[in-house]
C-alpha cells in the first residue's frame, strides 16, 4: 500500500486491463481445478506486479467472473505460470484479504469472500449492450480508440464531479464495503 504508484498510474492500470480478466476466464484452460481466472502481467504498465494481480481480481469481481466462494489460483500455480516471486502473490492475496474481498482457508487456498458487483448480471449485460451502441455511434462519428477513452474518462469525471462524489476513486473503500454488505 505504501508503494502506491500514485492515483494516476493506478487508474491507468485499471483502465488498461479490461481485456485481461475477460480473456482468460470462461473455460480458458485454468491450471488448477476451481481457479476461474488466469492472471497476466503487463510489463510496460508501470503498475507494481502485486497491484496488477489485485486489480485483475477486482475487475473480475466487478464483471461477475468471480463470485463468492470461488477459489483464487493457488500461489504455486501463479508462480509457475508467470515466473514471479511467491511473496508477490502472497502480498496481493493479503491485500485482498485486508480489503475484505478474499479469505485464506488454511491448507486449501484463498477464496472470494465478497463481491464488488453492485449490479446484477442481467443488468450488467444490458448496460454492456447499450454501451456498445454508444461506441458504434462514436466510431462512425470518427473517434478513434484513444479519443473514445479520453471522451469517456472526461465525461465520467464530469458526472461524478456534478454529483459531488469521489468519481475518480473507483473501488475506494467506502464503495466496496457497500457492495460487500
Amino acid at each position: 500500500m505504501s508503494i502506491g504508484k500514485g492515483d494516476g498510474a493506478q487508474a491507468g492500470g485499471t483502465g488498461a486491463s479490461p481485456a485481461s480478466a475477460g480473456g482468460g476466464t470462461p473455460g480458458g484452460g485454468p491450471r488448477g481445478p476451481g481457479s476461474r481466472i488466469e492472471f497476466r502481467l503487463d510489463a510496460t504498465s508501470g503498475v507494481p506486479t502485486y497491484l496488477q494481480l489485485v486489480h485483475q481480481v477486482e475487475h473480475a469481481l466487478r464483471l461477475g467472473y468471480l463470485k463468492r466462494g470461488d477459489q483464487l489460483p493457488k500461489v504455486r500455480d501463479v508462480v509457475a505460470s508467470l515466473a514471479i516471486n511467491p511473496n508477490t502473490v502472497l502480498k496481493a492475496y493479503r491485500d485482498l484479504e485486508v480489503k475484505g474481498l478474499a479469505a485464506g482457508r488454511p491448507g486449501q487456498g484463498t477464496f472470494i469472500q465478497a463481491t464488488l458487483g453492485q449490479v446484477a448480471l442481467p443488468e450488467l449485460a444490458g448496460l454492456h449492450k447499450s454501451l456498445l451502441g454508444w461506441l458504434t455511434t462514436a466510431d462512425s462519428a470518427g473517434l478513434d480508440e484513444d479519443g473514445i477513452v479520453a471522451l469517456f474518462t472526461s465525461a465520467l469525471r464530469d458526472f461524478y464531479e456534478r454529483r459531488g462524489g469521489t468519481g475518480d476513486r473507483r473501488g475506494a473503500a467506502s464503495g466496496e464495503t457497500e457492495g460487500v454488505a
Binding site: I3, L41, A80, L82
Partner: protein, 305 residues
C-alpha cells in the same frame, strides 16, 4: 526465526594486489529472492564464491544459513550453487549426471530429479553436450534443487538463455521457493526482469556494497522528481541520488517517500526497480543501506554524493 541466509562483516577478498570485494557488511534475511546487481567486475561472483565456500576471505567474515561458517560441511550440505556457465560434463548423459551428483552428496532426491526432467521433456539418455542451452541450464538447476537445499545460489543464471528458456528457468526456481521455502540469492545484470523476481536488492559497485534492502522499502523511499532545469540546483532538501538534466526539464531521483513535500512546480513520481538500480549504478558514489533492522554502526545510512 528471522534467520540471515548470508551474513557478512567487513568481508574482503583480494586477488594479488586487487581488492575484488572490500568492507562488505550485509545481512540477507531468509525467505527472499535476493538479487545481486552490479557492473562487470563489481564483485558479484566473488561474493557468491565466498558464500558457497569456493573462496576464502582475505578480511572479515561470512556466515550462512543462520550463522554457519561458509564452506563448513554443515553449510555445504544446505547450499546448492549453480555457477555462471552452468558447468556440466558434456559427454555425460542426464542419467549419468544424476548418478554422479547423487554419489557426491549426502542428500539427493532422485525421484524429484527424474520427475522434473520428465516434465521438462529432457530424455535421461541425452548427453549434456547435445542439449539446448535452456535444457543444460534446467539440468544444472535440477541437480542443484534435488539436493533439497535451504539456499540456492545462482551466478548469472539466465544471461545466456533466450526469453522463453529464461522464463521457464525462473519459474522452476520460484516454484521451488513456493513449494519448499528455498531462499534464493542470484546475481544478474538483466535489470528489467528483476522486478518480478527479486524482493531483496543488493547493488555492488567497485567491490563495495552500494545499496542493500527489501525492494518494497527501497521503492517506497525513493521518488523521481521532474521540474525545470533552472531550479534543479536549488533542490537540496532530500538527498539526490542521480540527476538527469535536460535543456528545460530535469529529473532528479531522490530519497523521499510519498509523504514528503514536493517543491512547487515539481512533480513527484514513484520509481520502479530498474530506474532505481540504474540511478545508483550511474552514481557509484551514492549509497543507500537502510537496514533499520541491523544495528551495525559502520554502515553509512545516508546518501553521499
Amino acid at each position: 526465526m528471522i534467520m540471515n541466509i548470508i551474513e557478512t562483516s567487513g568481508l574482503g577478498k583480494r586477488y594479488g594486489g586487487t581488492w575484488a570485494l572490500r568492507e562488505c557488511t550485509l545481512a540477507i534475511p531468509a525467505g527472499h529472492v535476493a538479487a545481486l546487481v552490479g557492473p562487470n567486475g563489481a564483485g558479484k561472483t566473488t561474493l557468491l564464491n565466498l558464500a558457497v565456500g569456493l573462496a576464502e576471505p582475505s578480511a572479515g567474515g561470512i556466515t550462512v544459513l543462520g550463522g554457519l561458517p561458509a564452506g563448513s560441511p554443515a553449510a555445504l550440505d544446505g547450499i546448492a550453487f549453480v555457477a555462471q556457465d552452468t558447468p556440466l560434463y558434456k559427454n555425460l548423459s542426464a542419467a549419468d549426471m544424476l548418478h554422479l551428483t547423487r554419489n557426491l552428496n549426502r542428500r539427493f532426491d532422485q525421484h524429484y530429479a527424474e520427475t522434473r526432467l520428465g516434465e521438462l521433456g529432457i530424455p535421461l539418455h541425452r548427453k549434456a553436450g547435445k542439449m539446448s542451452g535452456g535444457q543444460q541450464a534446467q539440468l544444472a538447476l535440477t541437480l542443484a534443487l534435488a539436493r533439497r537445499p535451504k539456499l540456492l545460489v545462482l551466478d548469472e543464471p539466465v544471461a545466456m538463455l533466450d526469453p522463453v528458456a529464461r522464463h521457464d528457468f525462473m519459474a522452476t526456481v520460484l516454484t521451488a521457493m513456493a513449494d519448499d521455502g528455498v531462499s534464493v540469492v542470484l546475481s544478474s545484470h538483466v535489470l528489467a526482469e528483476l522486478e518480478r523476481v527479486a524482493d531483496y536488492l543488493i547493488l555492488l559497485s567497485r567491490g563495495r556494497v552500494q545499496v542493500a534492502g527489501e525492494v518494497d522499502g527501497l521503492l517506497a523511499s525513493h521518488r523521481m522528481l521532474t521540474g525545470p532545469t533552472t531550479e534543479a540546483d536549488k533542490y537540496a532538501e532530500r538527498p539526490v541520488v542521480h540527476v538527469q538534466r535536460g535543456g528545460a526539464q530535469t529529473h532528479l531521483l531522490v530519497r523521499a517517500t510519498a509523504d514528503d513535500p514536493v517543491p512547487p512546480s515539481w512533480e513527484a513520481h514513484p520509481v520502479d526497480l530498474e530506474e532505481l538500480a540504474m540511478a545508483y549504478l550511474r552514481e557509484p558514489g551514492a549509497g543507500a543501506l537502510p537496514g533499520p533492522s541491523r544495528g551495525r554502526g559502520t554502515q553509512p545510512s545516508e546518501v553521499t554524493r
